[in-house]
Symmetry: C2
Subunit: 206 residues, 2 copies
């Protein structure tokens, strides 16, 4: 590689830090950036800087935003009485892509994992309970992951929301968990045991 000038080698090295970009792809990208129209190259650089300067967390749901409230929280067409609890902005993105949910989100910023030192105070569970106290909230859907950490987080939230409801007399609120089971289009023979158990336990009347 040392036949390239230093400034190309530097860019190849910094592009290689990106996920899924190896040395060869980084070389190809760097040479493309070298020959691309000036405004395209500058756009990438300035958009990176702008991203890091502007993006923060929504003060209500902790989604990514560059304004005070995120696009979903400030959308008057969304149903403010349902909160969907997810671990991360990418999980939120996955639900949004499905287009099926019209309420608001609450992004925890992780899942409980005592082994990694992540307890209830390390993620935004307190903030969720604070939102849930409001009389406007009719339902909380717990959509944390279906791995051990996600399940533990779901149980913890469920138990504590129950206690909260008991203390707030006459307060009616549904607490639900997204369904687990066989993925659509999936071949039953490739489904793992735990998922199959969940699919059987969660069976519904036709």
């Amino acid at each position: 590689m040392n036949y390239y000038p230093e400034s190309i080698l530097k860019l190849i090295k910094s592009l290689s830090t990106l996920p899924g970009i190896g040395r060869k792809t980084a070389e190809r990208l760097a040479l493309h950036i070298l020959h691309a129209p000036m405004h395209e190259a500058e756009a990438i650089a300035s958009d990176i800087i702008e991203l890091r300067q502007k993006v923060k967390l929504c003060s209500k749901c902790f989604a990514l935003t560059d304004t005070e409230h995120c696009k979903i929280c400030s959308n008057m067409n969304r149903d403010g009485s349902i909160i969907c609890v997810v671990e991360s902005p990418t999980d939120m993105a996955a639900i949004e892509k499905s287009g099926v949910f019209k309420g608001l989100y609450h992004i925890l910023g992780g899942a409980l994992s005592p082994m990694d030192g992540i307890g209830p105070d390390e993620i935004r569970i307190k903030e969720l309970f604070l939102r849930a106290r409001s009389n406007d909230i009719r339902e909380v859907i717990i959509a944390t992951g279906t791995d051990v950490e996600g399940e533990a987080t779901a149980s913890y939230i469920f138990d504590n929301l129950k206690i909260l409801l008991k203390n707030l007399k006459n307060r009616d609120m549904i607490i639900s968990r997204i369904a687990s089971g066989v993925p659509m289009g999936g071949d039953l023979q490739y489904v793992d045991q735990v998922t199959m158990q969940r699919a059987m336990e969660g069976r519904r009347g036709f």
Copy 2:
């Protein structure tokens, strides 16, 4: 995608202009850049700007460089009496990777292609002839591509170097062309007809 803030959408869009980076990969890269250490994100941006400001062409061989002469031209261990003529810096990189060539290069910046309006004046052929006039040059290896344009360029250079040599009496110089034939490790049954013809024509005594 409109659940992401504007500054993320902007970066996704500008990253999508890179070759081999689709919308989904761009989304993943943008979210990585958002969560990466600040110095890594800044390095990518500043390295892009630096690349565009500093990289120019070597005044001798027209390779990419950020100094007056490129690393190869300014390396005293390289043999200045052999010039290898290539179309592009990436072709030069391919030869350098093989590690077999110890001379200098001449980067044409393209190949003759009358259909696209690229004649001898559009690429750096004049500059090559100027270098070839020097008595120091013992050999010119023509390593343009083996497609129609590359072959035509090779013929043009060969013919005109011959005329040049005739005019410069008592001037001795070898003009060679890289070998064409069956790639190493290649299965003969998959070799195309033209390559096979070349391999037979170019056969050598054992």
